[in-house]
Amino acid sequence: MSSRTSNAPLTGLAQFDRTTSIWGPITLALGFLVSLGAALFVAFGTGLGITAAELWKAVGLVIVTFGVIAVVEPIAYYPILGRSAMYQAFMIGNIANKLLPAALIAQTDLGEKPGTRRAELIAGAAIIGAAFIHLITLVVLVGILGTLLLAAMPPDLVAIARLYILPAVFGAVTVQAVVTMKNVRITVIAAVIAALLVFVVVPLVPALANLATASAVVIAIVAAWFLRKRTEGPPAAPQSIGH
């Protein structure tokens, strides 16, 4: 960011930095508030009798399991996205599979390499184009056609899709994570710990069933850290569960 005196008229890039450093956080915070409102409404506003304790127990478990990834991802993406695009990317999502390729293709198209101010502006513009397509396909294919499809589906098909969606998602996602990480040592450590918890610990102490995933994450982080290869280089591409 360029330094500037507080009262000088801002032009060009300084104005861009100012606008995005104000409106980036404001719009991201707005998205945050809308989501927060929706979540709290569903939990407490629909008359389902959900207590705060029940909700925080569930949310706490999710945060213990995935919180560390939520802290690492912004740090990992920052050098690639740059400051202004961070506020776009963490609102729109699909960073690794959609926004980064879109930004890179636009930069190549206009003969720019990542890292310059011009590249930052091109990336911002490309992300806007990608977000536009993202919203259109969601509205048309998911919002309209998907909802019609759901209404037209026979109830037994809907029931199957509900009942078996978890294994259908987790099988593919686990393979994807293994291939993306390209780290045999951590893969083996994580798989052994997960297997011990699911097939040995939980059958012995069924009360721990809900804590299995969070425990596996914590134990695997500690184990992988102490058993890591000491020669490993700096991180390559950011690791993501698809955000």
């Binding site: 927060l36 990608a130 998911v142 499809l149 078996y164 987790f170 593919a172 686990t174 997960a194 995933t213």
Partner: protein, 244 residues
């Protein structure tokens, strides 16, 4: 708005999943993304001259980004549609419209259901379980927005403490966390029923084939479409196994 059909113990989740307030929230999220895009586009155009970027080139960058996003967007839409029976349209739109993913959202909702002694999708998947699952995946997903909001200004000041973090932390910790989470979630599915086990294995095998195809046949679209294809094939296998 549906006072007559709200019932915590009902497995008919549609009155909650398709609640008008959730549609409004989904529309609100989309409106915020559009607002941000308009503000950013104006700022980029104004700054362009100083960075040798004409308005024409800005337009070209927007178009290039849009074209590049068509394939991934269609692939994401397929995954999103497969989640509609479980979560309903507004939840899927809000979660995937904002930072979110099938992997995280299903995992988060599944963990939340577990705290109620319930499972997603089955006979214990009541309105109450849906509501807690939706709230937990949304509030859990908000952690990413909070960390981005807090860390971005710190990182842009080139914070020394963050830069001094051992690079191994950035590789080992997220890899271990992610792999442990999904191995545990995947293994937990195998003990639910033989159909769950087969569905999981089919999904994993199809994804493996897609990734191999992407690598060795140089079909990079298989990389984007892998998850969607794996889900659809695995669900189809589950359907035929339970139909006979």
């Amino acid at each position: 708005m549906h006072p007559a059909v709200i019932d915590p113990n009902s497995t008919e989740i549609l009155p909650v999943a398709f609640h008008p307030v959730l549609w409004v929230a989904a529309a609100g999220v989309f409106a915020v993304i559009i607002l941000q895009s308009v503000i950013y586009l104006r700022a980029i155009r104004k700054a362009g001259a100083e960075a040798r970027l004409t308005d024409r080139q800005v337009g070209r960058a927007v178009r290039a980004g849009a074209v590049a996003a068509i394939g991934p967007s269609l692939a994401v839409a397929l995954v999103a549609v497969s989640l509609l029976p479980l979560f309903g349209t507004p939840a899927v739109l809000t979660r995937i419209g904002l930072v979110g993913s099938a992997a995280f959202d299903v995992a988060a909702a599944g963990l939340a259901a577990g705290t109620q002694g319930a499972q997603l999708g089955g006979p214990t998947y009541t309105q109450k379980v849906f509501a807690i699952g939706f709230a937990a995946m949304t509030l859990g997903g908000l952690v990413w927005m909070v960390t981005a909001l807090i860390l971005t200004p710190i990182l842009s000041r080139g914070d020394k403490a963050l830069r001094r973090v051992n690079p191994a932390v950035m590789t080992v910790v997220p890899a271990a966390a992610l792999l442990a989470a999904f191995f545990t979630l995947a293994f937990a599915e195998t003990v639910k029923s033989p159909v769950h086990l087969v569905t999981l294995l089919v999904s994993a095998a199809v994804m493996g084939l897609c990734l191999l195809g992407a690598k060795y046949l140089k079909k990079s679209w298989l990389h984007e479409w892998g998850l969607g294809i794996a889900i659809v094939v695995a669900l189809a296998v589950a359907y035929f196994m339970t139909a006979t």
